[in-house]
Symmetry: C2
Amino acid sequence: MIDLREILLPNIPDDNEKREISEITESLISGIRQILARDGINATPVLVGSTAKHTNLKNADIDIFIVFDRKFSERQMESIGIRIGHEVLPDGIERYAEHPYVSGYIRGRKIDLVPCFRIESNTRIISSVDRTPLHTEYVLTHLDEKRRNDVLALKLFMKSIGVYGSEIRVQGFSGYVCELLVICLGSFQKVLERFASQKGRLVIPETTPLAAKYRSPVVIEDPTDSSRNAAAAISLENLSIMKIESRLYLHSPSKSFFTKPQQEKPLPYKDRGTCIRIVTLPKPDLVDDVIYSQAQRARKILVEHIVDTGFHYMDSELYVGNEIEIMIETESATLPGVTRHVGPPVDTPNSMAFIMKWKDGKSVRGPYVIDDRICIDAPSVARDIETAIFSAFSGANIGKNLDPVKGKARIIDPSGSDTAYMVLGKFYSRKIHL
Amino acid sequence: MIDLREILLPNIPDDNEKREISEITESLISGIRQILARDGINATPVLVGSTAKHTNLKNADIDIFIVFDRKFSERQMESIGIRIGHEVLPDGIERYAEHPYVSGYIRGRKIDLVPCFRIESNTRIISSVDRTPLHTEYVLTHLDEKRRNDVLALKLFMKSIGVYGSEIRVQGFSGYVCELLVICLGSFQKVLERFASQKGRLVIPETTPLAAKYRSPVVIEDPTDSSRNAAAAISLENLSIMKIESRLYLHSPSKSFFTKPQQEKPLPYKDRGTCIRIVTLPKPDLVDDVIYSQAQRARKILVEHIVDTGFHYMDSELYVGNEIEIMIETESATLPGVTRHVGPPVDTPNSMAFIMKWKDGKSVRGPYVIDDRICIDAPSVARDIETAIFSAFSGANIGKNLDPVKGKARIIDPSGSDTAYMVLGKFYSRKIHL
């Protein structure tokens, strides 16, 4: 049997860190209060996120929301919010998620200052960020200290197996989902037992009408808004991994399920008897979620085009570092020289037009008949993978912020050199935590 | 408008040939009668086939059946039939279809002497060969001279576009089917109009219960046995070709639809940017139908195995000459070095066994999760096409008469030389008659 407290100890804040977080938080909140009073603005600074809910692991960010009265316009709320942010975080930079916000560091700790609107439970919201203060309140009133440790253990477990985080890069379980799982199911152990035995989708509560409304693999009704699925971000893959790892853990519990996952590291090309190419794109200066969703779209367009062109797609990988790296693996680097065009069924009038079009030696072979279709063999148009990758991007819009830079895309054949790439490291080492 | 008589004239027997056929036939029949009388055997020689029905094109075979009383056993019928055959055709050789028979040449003309049993219309038969004399009688009583010319034109048309002949090599329209089509539909022109406008299967008469019983593309009730589909041999491909060519002919009639199809000729390898291999097998000394059905089976086994192995199959071709030549075309000559094994769904108990089996670095990569399945990458077993072709035959029974000689199979890469092969000629020139 694993002693969870023993596992948690090195991973949660010690007294020094707790004091430091308090000091930073209090100084920021009082600083903001003073500005609000000085400028006569009807708004309240609120600590949210894991530090507010006492479910923070070591080195957690501090998230402070500046909650504005609804009499402000969205524009006012945003511009005042940003101004205050810069005032209390002089080195902070502006980022953009649903609202713009200011992000910076104090004593090495990441601080986010986010303006939002004040709302009540189960009311219509302007943006989902506005709900965050309600989540904080709900968790504070529903989690006692013992169960906060269960949440911490669950977060640690999920981090270790790579399914923690609702950002688009991960598509995993958010901190709030971890908290709801423990609140609803009772403990770390009970949460894992549920995943281990769960077949198909996970729906909590089982009677929620959201299950019929949404097709997502995990549906957890948000107690602060019964119309919202708090688990909408979670991919089928991450649900599957959580089921498997829960079973593995319950079968033989071990501390290894709580150790940090292996650090992603760059690797050079390794021959798998396949064709591997890396496409790089400059990374626009935007929040990860925006970049990731566009980079994933670019990857999807690339893969679909490669398949449409006739290449036999095997796998792909995405990494966003200083650049966007998309890796694609196909069975071979070239297509056959001819492609069969299957024409219309013989019983349709179009079949005669197809024959007429191709009759005078315009094809490599045919027209000929297979079963009830007319076919011809035509020369393949683009035969090499580079041409296919190039035309994938030139023909499609790959996203608002990537499309303008797609002219700077580079296609790299990594097989010729020892250069290591993060995307190759991620690709070659794909493996569940065992 | 095409004058069919003008087209037929050079393709049907002139008076000399007619006289020659009569002489040969009469001499054979009287020779057989004498032997039967001499030996006191209750049997009758009957001229059958196209020369009996006056629907013979130039240089037709002469088919004579020796029709035995049912009091003989099958064994007696066959052995006596063969003995008589050898007596009247001293250079004849024994062949085997449904019964054994004797085949030889007189004055350069092919003669088949076939023993069979006497049966009546719509009675149970011992073998389908026994029905042939009834077909002769039916056609003689239902086709007048004018419509015999329609049959001849139809045969000529079908020969020209390559769909004439019910042998397994062709899977096309038999002479008897041509005769039934003209009898039922009225004329050459009406037969083509029917094919040109036909959607889906061709069923004659439309009310026949055989249509529900058999799935063949063409169903024509045999008037001498209402339970038999006289058109069972015809492939969907040949029905499709007949529909297309009928439309092309009716749209712009031309003599070219009655010229002999281009002679099949050997061709050397021509690069299509694909992988082409030829497998040759010794040809057993059997009738074509038996060899073809086994060779087609061998081709099917080969193609299925190649696909199962992971190669991307493009096309194949079969030619039976002095040897059996099977050609297979794939996109490339090698497989990628790794293959993804998609394991059981995460929700099944087997998924854990799969993980345990592959966990300790036994795979090239993984186990990893895709959606709700566990996967691993394993090294591909046989990577080159030669190995795959070789293992296709070693693992399967490729037919009663081919299996004993499969050890003598040769796998040829034709790209290295200028050697011409019939199977390549057939493959490269596949094209409907235009």
